[in-house]
């Protein structure tokens, strides 16, 4: 352990300046957001520049992080026959331990340590801190897992960069070709995805450990090649579904009594442009949900069977929050007014599957047995900001923050006010236009109200398109503008966010599901 620590200290000392610069990038963003005045709403171009500046900084952080992995390995070469360390009393196992320690401490945990004060300053509690730290560590781990085997196989940094380029191009071409040719169900696709990730992890660990312990670069490269061939084979040909049988999350007590019962099913037609689709609709009764919570179904697998013949719906478009908008609206309003009488959302729940045309006729002709696996999340409405409607007022809670930047009269009457919003429900990838972050892709409703408690009035503000300014380690910074009629001194801005508090999975079944045709 002494040797491992000694090598780790050497690496940390060597990389101290580049690490400091790398960690300074989010600090620069923090300082800017914290100190510099954001441009006025009229300065659209400046907002765009800031946004792309943040995107650039985020990309630079990722690239530097990738190069840091190489730099960490590069000082004690594993490939080639000119390395320094094998001629010293250092075993491959000790070196591997030191490098893993370096990766975890310097590249995974150091950004968390730098960002933690920033998160704490924005009202993050333990759950938000855990989630944010997990997100940063996961991002860093993904970067590390890509760079590590290439660094271990490269005798020089130049070769590492060449391998990176070759890997990037070949994977883009290879995966594009494979995905275009995919003709399998979503369950099999998901299973292939899990298996590919597991294979990738095994390949990275195998190649890295083999290279550290033996320094036989050709054999390690062979292992790497075999790993990739396996991944491509699985991606192209793996036929079995196991993903639908995996339950990743521990079920919360909140979902203990939650039940979903199929009530009715119907097939309708839907017009999209010039194309007519058949849509399979499933209505379910939700019960047993304690209040005040709501449910959103994220995914489902539907299996219909006629005797021994099984058909699975390949594509699901389950209802999003839009289906229950009124429920969400009521709940948000009730939480603002502290209305204890709010009922849990034990209501009818409707799901729809589009493009079921091939199946639709048969569903209508012959009632099948039905089995569905549904995964969903339970949301709780939380007031994250409640502040007087004046310029400069700010409030924050649970990883959300609101700061009123401007309140100005409009020429057409009424006022427009501009708020800067911090949101814990962001992630670095979401600020890059061509990527979609997983959390930001789920439409979690946020509500903004103007409330006058003395008069007992509450007005829901219309959503404006948020101007995303940037994202600093999972804390999204954006701006929203609201139009409102007239305000007085007692008016307050109240922000309500539906926060995910639990996940659940339910299997529902019906031995004979009667399906009704419905024309639209």
């Amino acid at each position: 352990m002494k040797v491992v620590w000694h090598i780790f200290r050497k690496d940390a000392f060597r990389l101290r300046w580049i690490l400091a610069l790398w960690l300074a990038l989010p600090v620069v963003q923090m300082i800017y957001v914290g100190l510099a005045p954001l441009p006025s709403p009229e300065q659209k171009n400046v907002v765009e520049v800031i946004r792309y500046f943040f995107v650039l900084l985020t990309l630079i952080q990722a690239v530097v992080s990738y190069l840091l992995v190489m730099s960490l390995i590069d000082d004690d070469l594993l490939a080639g026959n000119q390395a320094f360390w094998p001629t010293r009393p250092i075993s491959g196992r000790q070196l591997l331990g030191a490098k893993l320690l370096g990766l975890v401490v310097l590249l995974w945990l150091a950004p968390v340590v730098v960002l933690a004060p920033w998160w704490l300053a924005h009202g993050y509690g333990w759950p938000e801190l855990g989630k944010a730290a997990g997100s940063v560590v996961l991002t860093q781990a993904v970067i590390t897992l890509i760079a590590l085997p290439l660094a271990a196989l490269s005798p020089r940094s130049g070769i590492f960069l060449v391998l990176t380029g070759v890997g990037l191009v070949s994977n883009l071409v290879g995966f594009a070709a494979v995905f275009n040719a995919l003709r399998v169900s979503s369950e099999v696709q998901e299973s292939r995805g899990y298996l590919c990730m597991a294979l990738w992890l095994a390949t990275v660990m195998g190649v890295t450990a083999h290279q550290f312990l033996t320094r036989r670069t050709l054999r390690s490269a062979g292992l790497f090649g075999v790993g990739w061939i396996c991944i491509f084979c699985v991606l192209c040909w793996w036929p079995w579904d196991f993903a639908s049988k995996i339950s990743w999350s521990h079920e919360s007590p909140l979902a203990a009594n939650l039940t979903l019962q199929p009530q009715s099913a119907l097939v309708s037609s839907s017009q999209r442009g010039k194309t007519t689709y058949r849509v399979f609709n499933l209505n379910m009764q939700l019960a047993g949900l304690p209040g005040p919570y709501t449910v959103v179904i994220d995914s489902e697998q539907n299996t219909f069977s006629w005797g021994g013949e099984i058909s699975k719906l390949p594509l699901t478009r389950f209802s999003g929050t839009g289906w229950f908008r009124s429920v969400f609206d009521r709940m948000a309003q009730a939480v603002v007014l502290d209305d204890k009488s709010i009922a849990p959302m034990n209501a009818l729940h409707t799901g729809a599957v589009i493009e079921a045309s091939a199946l639709a006729e048969r569903l209508l002709r012959e009632a099948p047995a039905y089995r569905g696996v549904l995964r969903g999340r339970i949301f709780q409405p939380v007031v994250v900001a409640d502040l007087p409607l004046r310029v400069g007022e700010s409030a924050q809670r649970s990883g959300y923050g609101v700061c009123i930047e401007a309140v100005q009269p409009k020429e057409t009457g009424g006022i427009q006010f501009v708020v800067r919003v911090f949101s814990a429900e962001a992630e670095p990838a979401s600020i890059i236009p061509w990527t979609v972050g997983t959390r930001s892709s789920t439409a979690v409703p946020e509500y903004n109200f103007v409330v006058n408690r003395r008069r007992g009035s509450i007005s829901l503000l219309n959503d404006s398109e948020p101007e995303m300014l940037g994202c600093i380690g999972t804390l999204g910074v954006y701006r929203q503008r609201f139009d409102y009629g007239a305000v007085d001194e007692e008016c307050r801005l109240v922000k309500v966010v539906f926060r995910p508090v639990a996940v659940f999975e339910r299997t529902i079944s019906s031995p004979r599901m009667e399906i009704t045709p419905l024309s639209r």
């Binding site: 000694h6 060597r14 070469l77 026959n81 320094f84 001629t87 009393p89 250092i90 000790q94």
Partner: protein, 303 residues
Amino acid sequence: MNPIEIRQLTRRYGRLEAVHELSLDVPAGSVCALLGPNGAGKTTTLKVLLNLLPPTRGEARMLGVDSRKLSPRELRQIGYVSESQQQPDWMTVRQFLDYCRPFYPTWDTALEKTLLARFELPPERKLKHLSRGMRVKAILLSVLAFRPKVLVLDEPFSGLDPVVREDVTSGLLETAQAGDWTVLLASHDIEEVERLADRVALLESGRVWLDETVESLLTRFRRVEVDLQEGPAQTDAVPETWLKFERAGNRVTFVDSRYSREATEPACRARFPEAAVTARPMTLREIYIALARSGRKSGEAAA
């Protein structure tokens, strides 16, 4: 058990066979020099010994352990100096020594200080900013300070000016006096080898074709000059042990690789009855050149 044992070692790079069934033993306490032209397989042999390269066939053992299984336990007793080896060049000399020190329980801090002063190394200068000679001295210092049982030196004098060369050689000699070590040295610098080594192994095309003590070589090799004057001379079919046999006018010169007064002088008299024969000792450099120029075949005969 010898500290260094190489048995039937073969190492290939693709189709090129750098070392071919090489066998060599270096006894404890001896300083053995590997001599040979460029591409003879010297560096490859040393790299296999240090497990920097795996052997294709055969085996190399250090301190009784197969080189492929060298562990930190053995490596704490083995020093390796190679000018071409990657070093942590970003470190200063002091940082480099501070980094190396904890790896070796036998590290002699007093010797480190003595050598640091003797080699006139600037402690605060980075390795990458040192001259070639200074760099070699820094690496050598990091190796000598833990008093290794086995020292492997790969071209340590290459490209060094005479003063630095002298520093390195005397540093090695002084440290050698203080401890009992075994040294395997690959070098082109035969003068330095002659000062350091008590044994040489000559390599060509990956094969050892001579392995002998320096003392024995210096004893049995003589440069013989025959002054024919006007007498008869039989210059064809000379013994195989006479290398570089040349006749220029009335003068015949050759290197006798099995010299003894009792054998060589009668052999000369038989061929040159009235000639004056003189034999003078040779340096290791002259012997090496004579052997190298006369080719491996005659060398084998010479051996």
